[in-house]
Each structure stands twice: as structure tokens, then as C-alpha cells.
Amino acid sequence: MLDLLWLVVALPLAGFAGLALLGPLLSRRAVSAVGVGSVGAAMVVALAAAWTFIERHPGHGAWVQPLWQWMHVGSLDVSLSLCLDELSLVMMLVITVVGFFIHVYSIGYMAGDEDYSRFLAYMNLFVALMLLLALADNLVALYLGWEGVGLCSYLLIGFWYRDAANGRAARKAFIVTRVGDAGLIVGLLLIFAYLGTLNIQDVLVRAPAQWAAGGALATTAAALLLAGAVGKSAQLPLQVWLPDAMAGPTPVSALIHAATMVTAGVYLIARMNGLFVLAPAVMTLVSVIGAATLVIAGFSAATQRDIKRVIAYSTISQIGYMFLALGVGAWAAGIFHVVTHAFFKSLLFLGAGVLIHAVGGEQDLFEMGGLRRALPTTFWAFLIAAGALAGLPPTGGFTSKEAIVYFASFSPQSHWLLLAAALLGVFLTGLYTFRMVFLAFMGPPRHEHPHRAPASMVWPLAVLALGCLATAALDWPADLGGRAVFSDFLDRVLPPAASLPVGQWTVPALQIAGVALSLAGIAVAWVITRPARVAGGSAAGLRRFWLAGWGFDWLYQKAVVRPLLWVVWMDRHDPVDRVYTGLARSAAAGHRAMARAQSGQIAWYALAIAAGAVIVMTIMVVLS
């Protein structure tokens, strides 16, 4: 079954090719069949492959399926190969499973769109490239997937291309992530230059052997990879693109900007764990970035009016948690949060999609309200997801977040500030999540007849809600009687997280504190969303600052974009050309001056001859 692994990537790719080339010719139904079916088939193959992998349990190692040689020049040997190990397996499953349900959801959500086939084509392409990213066994192939999903993100954010604002958002996403990618590519260069390979396994073997821990090379390499991760995962300081990326259709937000692509940065760091371990400074940086991001994004999320922007900021914030986890060495916890986050965040987006659909495209929370009765299934699914996001038991979110909070306090790399940030984040998460829930579902209904969503949109919500709950079982805390199945599974490829010795009651205490803080946040949310206060939803002072995402956009506009545009503007006529124009002008001036000497006057010509005679005579006589 593992031999068919390539199909996981190839099926969505084939779906893309079919839709791109033949899309306009196919019926809507056929388009759905191809677009969703390809991902569904990929999911089946992925599950089968995963099952085989786990069952056969090929020892401590990865299963590699070489596809073809990509480039082989001198010492560079890059092949396209798929590599299945515990980590990529997890990612593969998340991508295919969550991806499949989002595709199903899209059938209903995009039903009215004239570019339906194009949409599914892009989505299929995305799934294929994301899988390639996850399964790549070398950094170049990973980069192929990395850039490829960036392209899909760009295409899908700007899917409704007629609105120039969407196009702007799409370009912003591509360009900002590309800034990070420039760092990533330099990191690749550095790794190849000093380790002589770009194969991930080889790098992880050679790096500790050749590079001293904490050395400059390891630190630089890790920092450069981190730059790529920061860009892709919308972490400080490159987080600005993600809120704007909400311009795309909601399934896109769910799939790309919540469940999969934005967590690629986390995946990259986890994938290259052996390298990051060699660079403690960078590890600290990762955790600091994560902590700072989660707090900053949390505040912003709490002030947004647009439901999708709330979720977007929450995504940034949650990825901050993941970074925090990675930074303190809790690899499995970080990845576990990726998994749970994929479920509850995509569910949130899909739910938001239903809401938006219901109220006729309106995204402003303050224009919603009271939708609980009209959309009961959605309400309950959304509630479960919100609970997971807020870290309430018994959801997957609870387990993963508690694990992160735990390691933030008791990992050898932990610091009380990290813990404080994590806990503050928990509070904020509860606050903004339930502010959203309350504003959307509670209170008096503002819409007489909300649109009912089709079944294809509703049942994926239910499945994902189940997923939110089910994932909790994967790593249920031991003190609550669970088993760390997931962590153990991943610990075969990732370094096990170290922990300081802790007392018996410490873990439950932390859990209680987490839940309590979350509940406190919910309570605050309840208070501020009371109808009486809703009217005062106008932004002022700090709230406006948070609403605007801490002014990062403003800063970049002033510090980067404007100067760049100024340079471009000054430069647009190619100043170098002036030099040549000047040369041509001076030649023309020379021509005019000399042409004036050609006066036609015989006397003048004769004078020239006489002068010439004198000059020639002088040269000859003087030199002889």
C-alpha cells in the first residue's frame, strides 16, 4: 500500500490538471466529482498508507518513495521523493482529512459561483502541493511545496479578482511570505554550502556531527529557516498578511489560512528539529516570537468586528502557541496543537462561512446576532469549536493547549514570562472566542429569514466537530486518566520533550488555572457583549490600535512600502540612460560646433590649410 503513496499527491494534482484544462467544458456535477473526488481518493489512499505504515511499523525510520531525479549537478543531488515518517504522516492525514471535508463544504458554499471549477482546481492544486511539502524528503522539494502553497494561497485570496482590494490582499500575502522565504532560501544555501546536502535526513544527521551546538553556523542556519517559518506562519513581525488574506472565500480561509498552510512554518521547524536543537538562541527566539505573537494577536482578535478577522487573529495567536511549544522543546505538543487547531479552526471558519452565507454575505459581527435558533447545528458545532479554541475540556483544544502551558512552565527552556504570556493568551482566547460566539448567536435576532445552508455545508461541520472532540483522546492528560498516544507516536521522530521535575498537584493546578482563566475570559466576553454595550462598539484609543493590528501595517507602509515606491518612482526613467543621452547630446553638440567651422568660406578653408601646414611643420621639425 505504501507503494501507492505517490497517489496521495498525484490524485489532487490530476484533479487540478483535469479541472484547469477541461474545467469550463464540464458540468457542475462533474466538476464537483473531479474536484472533491480527487481529494477524497487521496484521503482514502493516505489513510490506507498511514494504516500500513503504523501497522508495519518500519522500525525507527522513514519510508522513502523516490519519484525521479530532479537535478543532479556535481555535488548537488536533488531528487523528488516522498518520505513518510510519523511527522509527515500526521501532516498528511490532517491535510487530506480536513481538506476533504472542506472540499465537500465548498460544493455548497461555492454553488453559486461562476468560477466554480477554477476554485476547485486551485484547491486541488493546493492540497497536492501541501502534501508535497509535508512528504518532501529534501529541502528543495519542500521549498517547491512551500512556494506552491504560497501560490495557491495567492490565487485563492484573490479568487474574486474583480475587486482590486482582493488582489491587493493576495499580493500582500505572497510578497510578505516571500520576504520570509528569501531567508529560507539563503538558509538552504548555507546548509548546502556547509553540509553538502539538502536531504532532510542527511542534514539532520550531519548537522550535529559537523556543527557545534550553539555555533554560529547552526544558529544562522536555524535563524534563516525560522525567517521562512515566520513568514509562512504569520508570526511576528510578518503576521500582517494573514488578516487581509480573509478576502478569499471562506473554505480557503479554513483550509489554507487555518488548518494547513499557515502551520507549515511549525512543521518546518519540527521537521528540522535536529538543526534547531543545535541553536538554543534560535529556540529561545522561537518561543519569544510565539509568546509575543500570541498575546498581540489575542488583543487584536478581541477588538475585531469582522468575524473572519477575529478568527484570523486567533489563528495567528494559536500558531504563536505552537511556536512557543516548539521554542521550549515541546515538539510533540506543538504538532499536536497543529492537529487540534486544524480541526477546530477549520470548523470555526466553516461555521463562520455558514453564518456569512446565512446573513447574505455580511461579515460584521455586530450585524449578526441571535442566529442560534435559525442555525442550531451550526451553533452547536461552532460552540464545540469555540470551546476547543478556548481550551475547555473535553475538547482536543484543551489537551493540546494544556500541554503547551505545561511545557511553557516546566520545560528546561521555560521562563516565567513565557508562562505569563501563555496564561494571558488563554484568558484572551476565551474572551475573543466567546465574544464572537455571543455576538453572532446570542442576543436578539437581526435577520428575519436567514438562509439555510445546504446539507453539503452542514454535515462537514458535524464531522469536524466530532474531530474536535475525538482528537482530545489522542493525548488526553495522564492525570485525567489518558494516555499520550500521540506524543509517543511522534517522539519516534521528534526529540522527547524534557520536563523539570514537578510535584503531583502541579499539573492539575495548571489545568485548573487554564480553564479558570479561559472561563474568566468568557465571562468578560459575556459582559461586554451585553446588548446595552454593543451599541458602544465603536473603536477608540487602545482598542483602535488593537483593531488595526498594533499598527504594523502603518509602520511597514511608512518604513518599507513608501520608501520603496519612492525609489521606484525616482528610478522609473532609468537614470543610467541619462549618461548615454548625455553622450549623444555632447556628440550632437560637437557636430554643431564642427559644422559651424564648415563655413563654406574659401579664405577660412585656406587659413585652415595654412594652419595645418604650420602644425605639421612644427611637429616634424620639433620631433626630428
Binding site: V73, R162, I185, L189
Partner: protein
């Protein structure tokens, strides 16, 4: 003989097209198409026969070596290796596209037009195949005149200015090449007593640095103008912008490659010791080109001009790669040349198609065309992505290899080159945004790609994908040639170890 045929076929085809035009325009087009297809087929045969050829191999069936001007040891000699072969393949492929792309857009003086197209093709092919430096120079200049006419007669509004500028720049550069070739000849003659212009004999001759340096610079100036390298690039935007589509394709796809080829084949291997000294400056100029070209591309409103400046940016990578001079960088430079030929060639054709339909290239007057022409939009998307170096497409392979190679030589330059990738995203996406995306500018119905146009685009895009996903076939072709080049330029190769 096969190599001679590669040159003769387009030349004869050009004359035949000129003659056929008396009969009908259609006949002229058909003749030209037949000639270019024949050349492509011939090139493919050479490729199939001797994939990884090294210089001089292949015997008389392949090569030609006739006495020409014995007094100075000038011979009519052709050779081929993997490097030349790849570029010849590109030439032949783009030749077909040029004829196809002009099928409808050129309605005036059709015979003369195709004569010029094919003559330029023959010239470029000759440049890639010439073994004798004198012959190389002859072909080098020979391709200019047809291109001049293409711009002058069938160009856009500022064709007069652009054609003059193009001609004078490249010819001035060419004259320095002439000087360099002669200097090389005489220094070689003085050292060995052998009067020859044969590349293979001039190669590896020991030359004192005080001679090698000025000669190298003379060669370099000429190639830098063609490539082009900032600050001798300013002919390019004007020429590319004002040329008719086929002219732009030839300029971008072929003429620029001649510059890169010259550097790879001549400038460095003939003067390795001087190249060691020049390399830092040359690489820095390459990086300057990458960034300067990208900045200028950002500032343009004319779509064609934007693409033209992006060429400067891309060619900066070629310069960087050549002077980094390790196997990775050289291969990268070769792949970039090929990729740029396909991508930018296709891009110019695309702009031509837009111009045909909308009669404007002003980005401010375009937009929202996806709804009208989704196929063309899709093609444009692939090309734009190829231009910004998306992995999986041709350009990325080259850029990656160049950067990998450069990093081993100079970390800051490699980093700066990588930074250029960010700028390339900005201008490339702007193309997409302001043509196919954004609000619609016209309500009138515009035809999407016709079958002919579809074939052009599909071929080129297939090539781009092939080279992006499976470049090994190309790398294998050029590998022995590059190895030979490196062995010739021992000094620089050593310096890079």
C-alpha cells in the same frame, strides 16, 4: 555538415520566404514555418545523436572545418557541445514560435519580415556554433541587421529611436569584441608563432596578465552589452518595447543568450587569470542588475517595458552564475538562459496577443481580462510564476543553482541575489494584477486563445514545466561541456575550489 545545415536551413528558408512573398503572404509564412520546423527537427536530431557532446567531437558528419582566409589562419569552422546545443535548441524552438506569433499580426511586407526573422535565427545559430573566432564575430554582427530591420520597420511608436539605439549599442560592443579577438590572435601569435583564430587552439594558451586583462575587458564589454549588464543595458528596454512581437522574442530569447554564451565560452575560459580578478566586480554587477532591473520593472506602466526590465534582472543572475564559476553556478546560468528564453519569449508573445486585441500595453488601461480570456489568463499566470521563480518551473532551477553556486563564492552576493527574488515577486504579480485581475476595463467580447496561439503557449509552457520539473535531461546535456569549460579555465576553477 549537420551544423552547417542548421545555419543554412533558416538562411535558405528566409530567402525562399522572400521569394514566396511575390506569390502570396500565406506562402511566405508557410515557407518560413517550414524552415523553422526543419531547423528544430535538425536540432533535435543532433540532440538525440550526441546528447552530451564535447567540442570537436562528432566528426565530419557533424562539424565543418574549411580554410577561409589562410593568411591570418582564419577558418570556416563549426563545432558543437552540450552548451551550444541547448542554446541552438532554444533558438530553433523560438524560431517556430516567432513565425507562429507573427502569423496574423504582421500584414505588411510579409516576405521581408520573415526573411529578417530567419536571417537573425541563422545568425544566432551561427554564434552558438562558430569555432573560429573570426566566424563567431561575423555571426555576432550578422544577426544585428535583420533585427534592426525588424524593429525599424515593424516596431511600435518609437521604433526609429529604439532601432538606432539598439544597433549602435550592440555594434559598439561588438567592435570591442573585434578588438579583443584581434588582440588575442596577435598575443597568441607572438607567444607561439601560430597564427590562428581557432577557439580550441587559442584555449589554454598562457597569457601574461597585463595582456589578458585588457583583452578580457574588451570581450566582456561586448558580451555585457548583449547580456545586458547594468550599466550598459539601456538599449534593451527600448528595443524590446518597440520591437514587434517576434523581434522581442528573438531579442529576449536569443540575442541576450548570445551574450551569456560569449561569456561562458570565451570571456572566462580564454582569460582565466584575468577572470579571477574581474569576477568580484562582475558578480557585483550581476547583483546590481538583479536589483536595479527589478526596481525599474516596478516603475513601468508599459507592460512590454516591464517585461524588458525584468529581463535585465534575470540576466543579472546569469552574470552572477557565470562568474561564480563552479559547476552549480554555471549550470544554473545555462538553465536560466534557457528558462528566460522560454518564459520571457512566451511573455512577449502574450503581450503581443493582448496588444492585438486591445491595442494598448498600458497597464493602467488593462485589467479584469480573466473573465474574457481565461485560457490566456492561465497561460499568463504560469509565465508570471515562472518569471518570479516559482519552484517547479524552469526559472527556479536556474536561480537555485546559481545561488547555491554563488553562496560558496560570496555569501553577501548570494544573499543579495535572494533578496532580488522578493522584488521579482512584486513586479511579476503586478503584471497579473493589472491585466487579468482587477476591475474589467472593457465590456466588449474578446476572443480567447485561438488554436494557433494555444499551440504556441502550450509548447512554451510545456517546455517551462519540463525544465522546471525534470531539468536533468538538460543538465546531462551540458554537463560534459561545462566540465570542459572548467578545465579550460583552471585558474578560476581553482580559485573557486
Amino acid at each position: 555538415m549537420m551544423l552547417l545545415c542548421l545555419i543554412i536551413v533558416p538562411l535558405a528558408g528566409g530567402l525562399a520566404a522572400l521569394a514566396a512573398a511575390r506569390w502570396s503572404d500565406r506562402a511566405a509564412r508557410a515557407t518560413a514555418l517550414a524552415a523553422t520546423v526543419a531547423q528544430l527537427a535538425l536540432a533535435c536530431v543532433v540532440w538525440a545523436v550526441g546528447g552530451g557532446l564535447t567540442l570537436g567531437a562528432g566528426g565530419a558528419a557533424m562539424n565543418v572545418d574549411w580554410t577561409w582566409i589562410p593568411g591570418l589562419g582564419i577558418r570556416f569552422a563549426l563545432f558543437v557541445d552540450g552548451l551550444s546545443l541547448l542554446l541552438v535548441l532554444l533558438t530553433a524552438l523560438l524560431g517556430v514560435q516567432c513565425v507562429l506569433a507573427s502569423w496574423r499580426s504582421i500584414q505588411e511586407r510579409v516576405g521581408f519580415f520573415h526573411f529578417n526573422i530567419l536571417a537573425a535565427l541563422a545568425g544566432v545559430t551561427g554564434v552558438f556554433l562558430a569555432r573560429d573566432l573570426f566566424l563567431f564575430y561575423v555571426f555576432w554582427e550578422m544577426m544585428l541587421i535583420p533585427l534592426y530591420f525588424l524593429i525599424r520597420i515593424w516596431g511600435h511608436q518609437r521604433r526609429l529611436y529604439a532601432s538606432l539605439k539598439f544597433f549602435i549599442f550592440t555594434q559598439a560592443g561588438g567592435l570591442f569584441l573585434l578588438l579583443g579577438i584581434l588582440g588575442l590572435h596577435f598575443v597568441h601569435a607572438a607567444n607561439t608563432g601560430e597564427s590562428t583564430f581557432d577557439y580550441l587552439r587559442l584555449l589554454g594558451g598562457h597569457m601574461p596578465l597585463q595582456w589578458a586583462m585588457p583583452l578580457m575587458i574588451a570581450f566582456l564589454i561586448s558580451f555585457a552589452v548583449k547580456l545586458p549588464v547594468v550599466p550598459v543595458h539601456t538599449w534593451l528596454p527600448d528595443a524590446h518595447t518597440e520591437a514587434p512581437t517576434a523581434g522581442s522574442v528573438q531579442l529576449a530569447g536569443l540575442v541576450l543568450k548570445a551574450g551569456g554564451y560569449g561569456m561562458l565560452r570565451m570571456a572566462v575560459p580564454l582569460f582565466p587569470a584575468a577572470a579571477v580578478q574581474v569576477a568580484p566586480v562582475a558578480m557585483a554587477l550581476g547583483v546590481v542588475g538583479i536589483i536595479y532591473g527589478a526596481l525599474l520593472a516596478l516603475g513601468q506602466r508599459d507592460l512590454k517595458r516591464l517585461v524588458a526590465y525584468s529581463s535585465i534582472s534575470h540576466m543579472g543572475f546569469v552574470m552572477l552564475g557565470i562568474f561564480a564559476w563552479n559547476d552549480l553556478a554555471i549550470h544554473g546560468a545555462i538553465i536560466i538562459m534557457l528558462a528566460h528564453g522560454l518564459t520571457t519569449g512566451a511573455m512577449f508573445i502574450l503581450v503581443g496577443l493582448l496588444d492585438e486585441r486591445l491595442h494598448t500595453r498600458d497597464l493602467g488601461k488593462l485589467g479584469g481580462l480573466w473573465a474574457l480570456m481565461p485560457r490566456m489568463g492561465g497561460a499568463a499566470m504560469v509565465l508570471v510564476m515562472g518569471s518570479l521563480g516559482l519552484p517547479g518551473l524552469a526559472g527556479f532551477v536556474g536561480e537555485l543553482l546559481v545561488l547555491l553556486g554563488t553562496f560558496k563564492v560570496s555569501v553577501p552576493l548570494a544573499a543579495a541575489g535572494a533578496a532580488g527574488l522578493v522584488l521579482s515577486v512584486i513586479y511579476s504579480l503586478r503584471i497579473m494584477q493589472e491585466t487579468f485581475h482587477g476591475p474589467r476595463v472593457t465590456e466588449s467580447k474578446l476572443p480567447d486563445l485561438t488554436p494557433r496561439e494555444w499551440v504556441i503557449m502550450a509548447t512554451l509552457i510545456a517546455g517551462i514545466l519540463w525544465m522546471g520539473l525534470w531539468p536533468q535531461r538538460f543538465l546531462d546535456t551540458s554537463q560534459p561541456a561545462v566540465k570542459k569549460l572548467q578545465e579550460s579555465a583552471v585558474a578560476l576553477t581553482e580559485a573557486r575550489r
